[in-house]
């Protein structure tokens, strides 16, 4: 019998991107089912917090990560790679794109009430979003969608990993305040 655990570990150790179970099975020349068993075992070993690394299922497959509880030390080593925080405007724009993609600049503006030009540029530059085509509408506006990097930065396995937008609906209280302030009839001052 093959030392399958060792084979899988060494492949994951050397790879510089997530490896899918299919790929691992192909290289190890075994059935994907056997690989999945090994991966499950490795994921169980993640419970041991004294270990310096752990296996994670991320977009595209499995990959080794440094144990997050030691992140403050790891940061000292790889500080140059820590990405700059995106601005609040960029984050809101990104949330809109993530849920409404593909979406045009004008449609984003209609939601935020302000032109998303600057936010779009910074998101494009960070490769979190990409142009996905043009809308079949007057002026053929550019359509935007999330780029592959988006999933990785936010630790999502795939786009369906996003909670449904309805989960973010304002609480009843908030809703009441907004509607109360804005839909009450009559009585203005000045």
């Amino acid at each position: 019998m093959k030392p399958l655990k060792g084979i899988v570990e060494s492949l994951l150790f050397v790879a510089d991107k997530p490896l899918s179970p299919q790929k691992l099975a192909e290289i190890a020349e075994v059935e994907p089912r056997e690989i999945n068993e090994i991966l499950k075992g490795l994921l169980d070993e993640n419970q041991d917090e004294n270990r310096g690394f752990l296996l994670r299922k991320v977009s595209g497959g499995y990959r080794f990560y440094a144990q997050p509880r030691y992140h403050s030390f790891v940061e000292k080593l790889v500080s140059a790679t820590v990405s700059k925080r995106a601005s609040r405007a960029a984050l809101e724009t990104l949330a809109i794109i993530a849920y409404k993609q593909p979406i045009t600049k004008g449609e984003i503006k209609a939601i935020r009430g302000v032109s998303p030009e600057a936010a779009l540029n910074s998101l494009l530059e960070k490769e979190l979003i990409k142009e996905t085509g043009r809308k079949d509408a007057p002026g053929q506006p550019i359509l935007y969608g999330t780029a592959p990097k988006f999933l990785g930065v936010f630790g999502l396995k795939n786009i369906r990993d996003l909670p449904p937008l309805e989960k973010f609906a304002p609480e009843k209280e908030t809703k009441k305040v907004i509607e109360g302030k804005l839909t009450r009839e009559g009585e203005f001052q000045q």
């Binding site: 050397v14 609040r88 993530a98 849920y99 939601i111 935020r112 009430g113 937008l165």
Partner: protein, 249 residues
């Protein structure tokens, strides 16, 4: 109005991401009613602000103008009776109900943005194993002499010597002879009609450099016209030329 003072102070000190952002803040945090805000006060605030900012930040000033103008627009719309309102600016909500709906929708995405921020903070603690090639190695060309033996070296040298001994001494015409690319194209197409040829074969009978150049230009033109395939199976190896649809490995 005491409340208005607080509000105008806020506008001056905080950067809002557009009118919806400001409105939400006013309504939710300040518990202000947008329809209680004084038009005159907003205008006065804006003028004051401009006076202060003249030498400072034009972008901030124009952002404030956008926010202030939007507040005015909403207020004015509120003052007009609803029947008079006709949708002119499709971008902007026309009624209070409309506006409330927009703000609720916007709040949804603000919450979603909070969620993303949290996710990212968690994710930032995970460092993936990274062993990508250092840049200087990643751009390094592959080792072309790998698997190259002394015997190969000898063979190559023999080929060069043989080629040189065949070639006629070079001579130069006083004026360069015109390159006839069209004739070369015909020549190449005729040669390829039966089977694909290597570039070395096509140039075998070339008399001088001009001839080789003409062959080269003819190949480029034929390739551009989509009549031939060019393929180089090995680095620095011979180039295979074939009519489209006739390339065989």
């Amino acid at each position: 109005m005491g409340q208005t003072d607080t509000m105008s102070y806020k506008i001056k000190t905080e950067v809002y991401e557009g009118p919806f952002d400001l409105l939400l803040d006013l309504i939710l945090r300040k518990k202000l009613d947008i329809y209680e805000i004084s038009l005159a006060q907003i205008t006065a605030d804006y003028l004051d602000y401009l006076r202060e900012m003249r030498a400072l930040d034009l972008e901030m000033a124009s952002e404030f103008l956008l926010v202030a103008a939007t507040l005015l627009e909403i207020k004015v719309k509120g003052l007009l009776s609803e029947e008079e309102e006709e949708a002119e600016d499709a971008d902007f909500p026309q009624t209070r109900e409309d506006l409330a709906e927009k703000l609720l929708e916007f709040q949804k995405f603000k919450n979603a943005a909070d969620f993303l921020e949290e996710k990212r903070e968690i994710e930032a603690r995970f460092f993936a194993r990274q062993n990508v090639l250092e840049e200087k190695f990643a751009t390094h060309p592959p080792d072309l002499l790998a698997d190259f033996t002394v015997a190969d070296l000898a063979e190559t040298l023999t080929a060069i010597l043989a080629k040189n001994s065949q070639s006629q001494p070079e001579y130069y015409l006083p004026a360069p002879s015109p390159l006839n690319v069209n004739k070369k194209m015909d020549f190449i197409l005729k040669n390829l009609a039966r089977a694909s040829k290597n570039l070395s074969v096509l140039t075998k009978d070339c008399q001088n450099k001009g001839d080789i150049i003409a062959t080269f230009l003819a190949l480029l033109e034929l390739h551009k016209q989509g009549k031939i395939f060019l393929k180089q199976p090995q680095d620095f190896g011979d180039i295979k030329v074939a009519l489209k649809g006739k390339l065989k490995h």
